[in-house]
């Protein structure tokens, strides 16, 4: 062992300082991590706390002084008609646009990975547009979409919202699925062909199950993007306001406490998904 060859005198202090450094490191990194997490979670915690805040005065609007604990807003969660409608619109919008964006984005990812540019004309242009789609400021996209819909004389509403949301989600789905496809062994598909499965069966039984984690991740991303989108939605929503647009409108007068109730609910669902993915990942290994 090399331990014996090192002089004891020279070794001892070095080991000590190393040990101290390790001890400091053991606390520094977790402390730092928890501080970052606290910074991220703090606003949400404030929202959750104020969803239990009493309101004094005639109008049921949020005030940021603590007036005592109540669960009244949870009991009367649907008492603000406009807000409830906006919330359900957001849910419907997110579901519809997620399904469409996931299907289109997955197929696009397959095409981009499978075909070299000599067979897929304009592949490089498509890749650039995808990148632009992610990088472009939303305000630009929102404004130009509004211009387009007005020019084409399409009435703003659910349809224009879906079109807009699908548009900005596709790129994220494609990027996510594409990452999953990068390590995909094509000989698995050849093996399926070899065993008598036609291309459609092969896709259903081999390709799709194997890229499913990527597809689901892309779908979750699309859903999250859709449900909290404000800028684009604000341009193309017309008279049907989704949740974020409605809340923004309400801030001019005052926010009803139910907004915090819905906010807390959406956050909890998100946490639920995160836990589910952890549990599923544990189960697999």
């Amino acid at each position: 062992m090399s331990l014996d060859t090192t002089p004891k005198v020279a070794k001892a202090p070095r080991e000590k300082s190393l040990g101290r450094r390790r001890r400091v490191g053991r606390f520094a990194l977790p402390t730092y991590s928890w501080l970052v997490i606290a910074y991220l979670v703090f606003p949400i915690v404030v929202m959750i706390i104020y969803s239990f805040n009493r309101v004094i005065g005639g109008l049921q609007l949020v005030s940021f002084s603590w007036n005592g604990f109540t669960t009244l807003w949870y009991q009367q969660w649907s008492n603000v008609p406009g807000l409830t409608a906006a919330f359900w619109l957001s849910i419907r919008l997110a579901l519809v646009s997620t399904v469409i964006a996931t299907v289109l984005g997955t197929l696009l990812a397959l095409a981009l990975v499978r075909y070299r540019s000599n067979k897929f004309r304009g592949k490089i242009a498509v890749e650039q547009i995808l990148f632009l789609n992610i990088a472009a400021p939303e305000i630009v996209m929102g404004a130009s979409l509004l211009g387009l819909f007005v020019t084409l004389n399409i009435g703003r509403g659910f349809v224009t919202l879906v079109l807009a949301h699908v548009m900005f989600s596709i790129a994220y789905v494609t990027v996510t699925v594409r990452a999953r496809l990068a390590g995909f062994d094509r000989s698995l598909e050849e093996a399926a062909y070899d065993l008598g499965a036609n291309p459609l069966t092969t896709f259903r039984l081999v390709t799709l199950p194997l890229i499913m984690p990527g597809v689901l991740a892309g779908a979750l991303m699309a859903f999250a993007l859709s449900i909290d989108d404000f800028v684009t939605s604000n341009f193309v929503s017309g008279s049907s306001d989704p949740f974020p647009v409605w809340v923004y409108g309400a801030t001019r007068v005052g926010i009803p406490p139910q907004v915090f109730v819905f906010g807390t609910f959406i956050f909890m669902v998100g946490i639920g998904f995160a836990f589910m993915s952890i549990v599923l990942a544990r189960k697999k290994t």
Partner: protein, 394 residues
């Protein structure tokens, strides 16, 4: 099938056997370079056939065209007499064992093996019975519930084999299936594979770059180079009388001496070396040189006996004098490098059968071997072993 290719097939193998698969003038061009060049090949029912060659020789491309994963640029592919040149792989009655095994990672062993049967909508009980019996054959009983990732390399290979064989294809294609196994497991699997092939009686087309593997298992083999077949026949025929210099050097070790044919006619031809010594070559092992007299005369190292310098040459033997440069004891025998008078270095293997006086380096010796173990080949263009050819884009 052209006559030239058929001529190499030994009567004993060809007689009364049905042709299972047939490549007719098949050419495959990738980016202007031919990977397979006007290939003709017939594979007979029930045989274990190997395509042997260095990487990039077109052997894998040939196999992929039979499997339906590549379309030939020109030529025809027949399977059981039917033209399948442009048929999709999922309509062909062939199955493949892939180099990477390509087991479905999201399915367990049972579902992997049952995949092909389920595509044919067999009854549940029948599927279970056939999968069970195949797993029995490949010696993996009670592995049904395992996932591919939980298996060792050797076990994965057995599952891949079972998955292909369970469909009872006309022809089983094996694409270097042992390249991922270590040497010991490889030898074990070679014997195992031959046993399974004999047991199920399915025709195997085996692609490999390992000449020992090909010789151990094959009923017939073909040596490929640059998209063409250079030698075809039983391992013994191809080894003992190689048809080209490439085959002679790729399949085992060969001593090759440059000479000139000075007399033909009769059972033996005479080849004269640069130092005026002569060697006899059986006439049926002299290639058609098309008028040229330059040939290379070959003899396998294990065919040569090494003796004292003054030893007499037995009748019917070829003899060369030389000096031992290196003598190596390898346990099973001795390996000598002998410098001959013509300047060529010959390799000699002598079995360790208890000879008390093995020659040492520096000794003058006489090398003798029966004339019928001599062969002649046409010199290769450029005279080099070009086994490093551009990859075929696999």
């Amino acid at each position: 099938m052209t006559d030239s290719a058929r001529a190499h097939v030994p009567e004993s193998v060809a007689k009364g056997r049905e042709v299972v698969a047939c490549l007719e003038h098949v050419t495959k061009i990738f980016d202007d370079a031919p990977a397979v060049d006007d290939l003709n090949l017939e594979i007979y029912e029930g045989e274990f056939f190997s395509l042997l060659g260095p990487s990039g020789c077109g052997k894998t491309t040939s196999l992929r065209m039979l499997g339906g994963f590549e379309e030939p640029t020109s030529g025809r592919i027949l399977l059981g007499g039917r033209d399948v040149t442009y048929q999709a792989p999922y309509h062909r009655d062939v199955n493949t064992v892939f180099q990477s095994y390509a087991l479905f990672p999201h399915l367990n062993v049972f579902e992997n093996v049952a995949f092909g049967l389920r595509r044919r909508h067999l009854e549940k009980a029948e599927v279970a019975r056939r999968v069970g019996s195949l797993l029995e054959i490949v010696d993996l009983p009670n592995f049904e519930k395992r996932r591919a990732a939980q298996l060792s390399g050797g076990q994965q290979q057995r599952v891949a084999l079972a998955r292909a064989l369970v469909n009872e294809p006309k022809l089983l294609l094996l694409d270097e299936p042992m390249s991922a196994l270590d040497a010991k497991l490889r030898r074990q699997m070679q014997i195992e594979l031959k046993r399974i092939q004999t047991q199920v009686g399915i025709t195997f087309l085996y692609v490999t770059h390992d000449q020992e593997e090909a010789m151990t298992m094959s009923d017939r083999l073909a040596v490929m180079r640059a998209g063409k077949i250079e030698g075809i026949g039983s391992p013994r025929d191809v080894y003992d009388s190689p048809s080209t210099e490439f085959v002679a050097t790729f399949l085992g070790a060969s001593n090759l001496l440059t000479g000139e044919i000075t007399s033909t006619g009769g059972p033996f031809a005479t080849v004269t070396m640069s130092d005026a010594s002569t060697l006899s070559v059986p006439s049926d092992r002299v290639p058609d040189t098309g008028g040229a007299t330059n040939v290379k005369v070959g003899v396998r190292p294990e065919k040569i006996s090494i003796g004292a310098a003054n030893a007499s040459t037995p009748p019917g033997h070829n003899a060369l004098r030389g000096q031992v440069r290196v003598s190596t004891f390898t346990g099973v025998g001795n390996q000598y490098l002998v410098d001959t008078a013509s300047g060529v270095e010959l390799t000699v293997y002598a079995q360790n059968i208890g000879q008390e006086s093995a020659p040492r380096s520096g000794d003058n010796v006489t090398l003798t071997w029966p004339a019928e173990h001599t062969f002649a080949v046409r010199p290769m263009r450029g005279g080099r072993r070009d086994d490093e050819e551009p990859s075929e884009g696999e």
